[in-house]
Symmetry: C2
Subunit: 216 residues, 2 copies
DNA sequence: CGGCCCCTTGAAGACTATCAAGACTTGTGG
DNA sequence: CCACAAGTCTTGATAGTCTTCAAGGGGCCG
C-alpha cells in the first residue's frame, strides 16, 4: 500500500536540503507494495528517500525480470511516454518523494541547468541498462553475482555487513538466474573466502580484489 | 572508415524534408567501420539515413554484446555524458547524419518542442533496453530469435524477403547466444514452416501468428 | 575459376534449470 | 514468552538447453 504524509513531518537533512523536495510530496510504501504498474498512466517522477525499489517487467506466463533496483538518492520513472512500460514495487518499507511530472517539465523548460540534469540522469539510466545487458547476455553465474555485490557496495558505500534489502528471488530475477543458482553461488563465494554472510541479508566483501577479478 | 560528404549532394526526400538535416553533415561509413569507440569523447548525435549501425560493448576477454541495431530514421548516441560508454559500428555500408551535440543542446534550450522530442527519444531507448533485458534474462533461444525477427519486420515494414543486414555473429551477440545456436534455431524455424530463408541474409515470415506465439 | 569468409550441421560436454526436501527466520497468537 | 506457521533460504540429485569443438558446404568477389 502507498500512503501519503506531509513532507514537513520528516526532517532528515537529505530531504530538507534537497532542491527537489518542494516540488513533490513524501509517500510511504510498505514492503512489496506496488508503486505503479505496467500500463498505468504516467503522472509522477520518484526519488527514493529511504528503502529500496525494484523495477519489473513480466511475461505472459509469469517469468519476471527486474531491470533495476533503486536505492536512496536515486530517481526512477524519469522517462517519457504517457503509459508506464514497467512496474515499480517497494522491496522493503520505503519512503519516496513523488514529484508530479508536470511540475518537473514546467520547471525544466525555464531552467537550463535542471533540464541538463534530467538529461544526465536519463543518460545514466541507459548506461546502466547497457551494462546490465552485457551481464545478462554474456556473463556466467559467478560473474553476475560478483558484479551485483560490487555494484551494491559501490552504491551503498559499504563493504562490511552490507544489507541486501531484496530477497534471493529478487536477486535471481535481476541477474537472469534462478533462486537456487543465486544461493549456490553465494555459498560458493563464501566457501572460497570472497564474502561472508551474516544471515541471508547481510554480506561482507572479504576479498574485493578477487571479486573484481570474478566480475569479468 | 568514415568519410565526409557535403549534405547538399544528397537529395533523398527523407533527408531534404528532415528538420534535423540543416543541423548536421552527411557521413558515410563502410561496412564494419567504427563510428566511435567506447571511451571516445562525445561530440555528435547521429541519425541513420541508410544502412544499419550496431552498438556494442566488450568485455576484457573479448566477449561482446550488441545492445541494439539502428535502422534508417533512427537516432543513436543521444545520451549525456562526456565520454562514450559503448562503440558504434556500421553493419553495412551506411550513410549517417552527424549532428554536433552543441547544436542540439543550444537549439533545445530555446525550443521546447525539440527538447520534448529529445526526451521522448531517450525514453524510447530505455524502453527498448528494458524489453531487451527481459529477452536476455528470461527467454530461450527460439523466443529470442522469434522476437528478433518480428522486431526487424516491424521496424523495416517488411514481411517478405526482409533483408538482414547483419551477420549471424552480430545476431548472436545481440541475442546473447552463439552463432551456432542462432543458425540452428533459424533452420528449425524454417523446417517448422514459420520462416523461409532466401540465402542467409533474406527472410520471409511465413507464419506470423506462430512467431508471435513463440515470442513469449 | 579459385579462395575466402560466412554459414550450417554434428557430436560431446558444461552450466544452469528443475524437481525435491530439509533448515532457518520471522512473525503471530496463544 | 514460547510454540507454531508461513515464508525464505540452502542443499542435493537429475535433466535439459545451449555452448564448445570440429568439419564440411555454399556463396560472393577478385
Amino acid at each position: 500500500m502507498l500512503s501519503y504524509a506531509v513532507s514537513t513531518n520528516l526532517r532528515a537533512p537529505s530531504i530538507v536540503n534537497d532542491p527537489w523536495t518542494p516540488l513533490g510530496i513524501i509517500v510511504s510504501a510498505a514492503r512489496n507494495a506496488e508503486i505503479f504498474a505496467e500500463g498505468d498512466h504516467v503522472e509522477k517522477v520518484y526519488k527514493v528517500i529511504h528503502g529500496a525499489v525494484r523495477i519489473t517487467k513480466l511475461m505472459a506466463d509469469g517469468r519476471r525480470i527486474i531491470t533495476g533496483f533503486h536505492l536512496p538518492g536515486e530517481f526512477f520513472a524519469l522517462e517519457s511516454g504517457s503509459v508506464h512500460r514497467f512496474s515499480a514495487e517497494a522491496v522493503a518499507e520505503s519512503t519516496l518523494l513523488a514529484i508530479p511530472r508536470k511540475a518537473i517539465v514546467a520547471k525544466a523548460s525555464q531552467d537550463g541547468a535542471l533540464s541538463s540534469q534530467l538529461w544526465t540522469m536519463a543518460g545514466a539510466s541507459l548506461d546502466r541498462a547497457q551494462e546490465h545487458m552485457l551481464l545478462l547476455g554474456r556473463k556466467n553465474a559467478v560473474e553476475r553475482v560478483a558484479t551485483f555485490l560490487l555494484d551494491m557496495a559501490a552504491r551503498t558505500g559499504t563493504d562490511i555487513d552490507m544489507p541486501l534489502p531484496m530477497s534471493r528471488q529478487d536477486i535471481a530475477d535481476f541477474l537472469g538466474l534462478t533462486i537456487e543458482t543465486v544461493s549456490r553461488t553465494l555459498t560458493q563465494l563464501e566457501r572460497d573466502g570472497d564474502i561472508a554472510l551474516s544471515g541471508a541479508r547481510k554480506v561482507t566483501l572479504t576479498n574485493r580484489k578477487r571479486l573484481l577479478h570474478l566480475e569479468g
